[in-house]
Symmetry: C2
Subunit: 143 residues, 2 copies
DNA sequence: CATATAAAAGATAAAAATGTCTTTTAATAT
DNA sequence: ATATTAAAAGACATTTTTATCTTTTATATG
């Protein structure tokens, strides 16, 4: 469904959302354990997310990765698209170039609104909202 | 979403469903073009599907791959699971081992019924039904 | 300023997925 | 029987994804 990279990235960002802010930062190697992702791999992913404004970071002593309130407004789809490309989730089930509503491939109706609804959720839901759910006891950690 | 192998396999089986029967068979190399999949790759995939009773085949002159009426009753999920494994489609969005309805991960509700509905469709829909849709002008080729 | 710290960037390695080629086996037709 | 055909099986090559390691750059602190 999602690549490992996308899953790792979502877990990393979620961890940062729950455990950091402008003042309190965490180093890549300290995220690794709690989210169960290899340290140098999560570092790479967070750096990539940093370049695109999804996470924040500061170098040097007491530096590390963190999320600003602004960062937390990132919609989930942005993280997924950054790592998997838009194509993976949004393309036709059979990767047919000219499959669309008017000229649907044999699997198109089957997937139907299901997929578009799903993608809309990912576009409309932000990291902040996921955090709120956790705090409201609607969903659970650990990652 | 699906691996290339799964997409290729679905296209191959769909092509067989539309163009073959016990009497009329096609060779791997003649499927390749119409469905736009490398010849030796589709051959491998069809052999694998053959081992699991999804397609039929006969060796030698006038041999080739084909689908029996029985074969056409195969649900789509079988083809997908064979190539991608059940895990890919059915596991939690974050691949968390103990995510379930009672202990949902942060993405669980978001995906919600959408995913289970989708999987149910794949379980309940057969190749034969897709063929019927095409014949009824509800969906379109080419692959 | 010098030093230590931690991210950024780059290079390299390992594993998995995709794709191709060759040999073997089974069926057909002459 | 023999030759031909086409799938089955296996070996091999390429590409992509995942993972690790090393060097560089920026920042804070003494």
């Amino acid at each position: 469904m999602l690549s490992k990279s996308a899953k790792y990235a979502l877990k990393g960002v979620l961890y940062l959302a729950m455990n950091t802010n402008e003042q309190k930062r965490v180093m890549a190697k300290d995220i690794s354990g709690p989210i169960n992702v290899p340290p140098s791999y999560i570092a790479k992913l967070l750096q990539q997310l940093g370049r695109h404004g999804v996470v924040s970071s500061i170098k040097g002593p007491h530096g590390g990765f963190f999320l600003t309130e602004e960062n937390k407004k990132t919609p989930l789809i942005k993280i997924i698209d950054l790592l998997d490309g838009e194509y993976r989730l949004k393309s036709c089930m059979l990767s047919l170039k000219d499959c669309n509503e008017l000229n649907p491939c044999p699997l198109h109706r089957l997937v139907g609104n299901v997929k578009s609804d799903f993608i809309r959720s990912l576009e409309q839901t932000t990291i902040a909202e996921l955090v709120q759910d956790i705090k409201d006891g609607k969903s659970f950690l650990p990652l």
